[in-house]
Symmetry: C2
Subunit: 140 residues, 2 copies
């Protein structure tokens, strides 16, 4: 578990620190987007929120994780899965499902982001498809 995290950190030329390993472990175990506040709770306040903020920032800059937008108000990040490195270039065109009840955001790998063409003049750089609703776990 932790081994995979350490491996990943080395691959991305990042120093092995407790915080980074724990955050990465958490992301590896829970395959979903997490926010800095959630990490703070989940990691039992073992790290300062600024450290977690910077850890996520570093991972994001290095391309280990990517931003996930939803309507929860706080920025979330998710691990880049295999899909991110597929074929020729790095891309993040996933469909994300945000549960308005448990506030969790997951990547829907089963569904491809539909392609669409914009009116002339717009230069698209990133596509986000967010679906809000109730997730599988929250249906009683």
């Amino acid at each position: 578990m932790s081994a995979r995290a350490q491996e990943l950190l080395k691959d991305y030329q990042l120093r092995l620190t407790d915080c980074r390993i724990d955050v990465l472990d958490f992301l590896l175990v829970n395959q979903r987007a997490v926010s800095q506040p959630e990490l703070e709770q989940q990691l039992s306040d073992r790290f300062d929120r600024v450290t977690l903020y910077r850890t996520l920032n570093t991972f994001n800059e290095k391309g280990l994780i990517h931003e996930v937008t939803d309507t929860s108000g706080t920025m979330k990040f998710a691990l880049c899965g295999e899909a991110c490195h597929g074929s020729d270039h790095h891309h993040h065109e996933h469909v994300h499902f945000h549960c308005t009840q448990c506030n969790q955001t997951v990547c829907i790998n089963e569904v491809d982001v539909p392609h669409l063409s914009l009116p002339t003049g717009f230069k698209p750089q990133k596509f986000s498809f967010i679906i809000e609703g109730i997730c599988q776990s929250c249906q009683q």
Copy 2:
């Protein structure tokens, strides 16, 4: 201009106040999503930010405007156009374009939100398709 705003407020059974009229005017003139901070600037600090916050909230609850999510971090709202009231029910499935340079978010009416089916267990309630990039005005 202001006449249309007053008309709309009456339609939605809202009291005619300076703030509401000005905000609505601004939304009518600039057909795009705006945030509370932007309104504060644009309306020359004539209203308290809390008032603007509550004005947007009220409009949203009454269905005059709807939330627009992008990665700017602050919540934005846009007028509900004719498309919102089309055919049988109220819906907000627009494609939104967020310019990362000028930070403006516009509704792309020309393009329909593609329909897609989710894995079983997910109950979708709202679809957001956000495209980040450079808008028409920002291309030099």
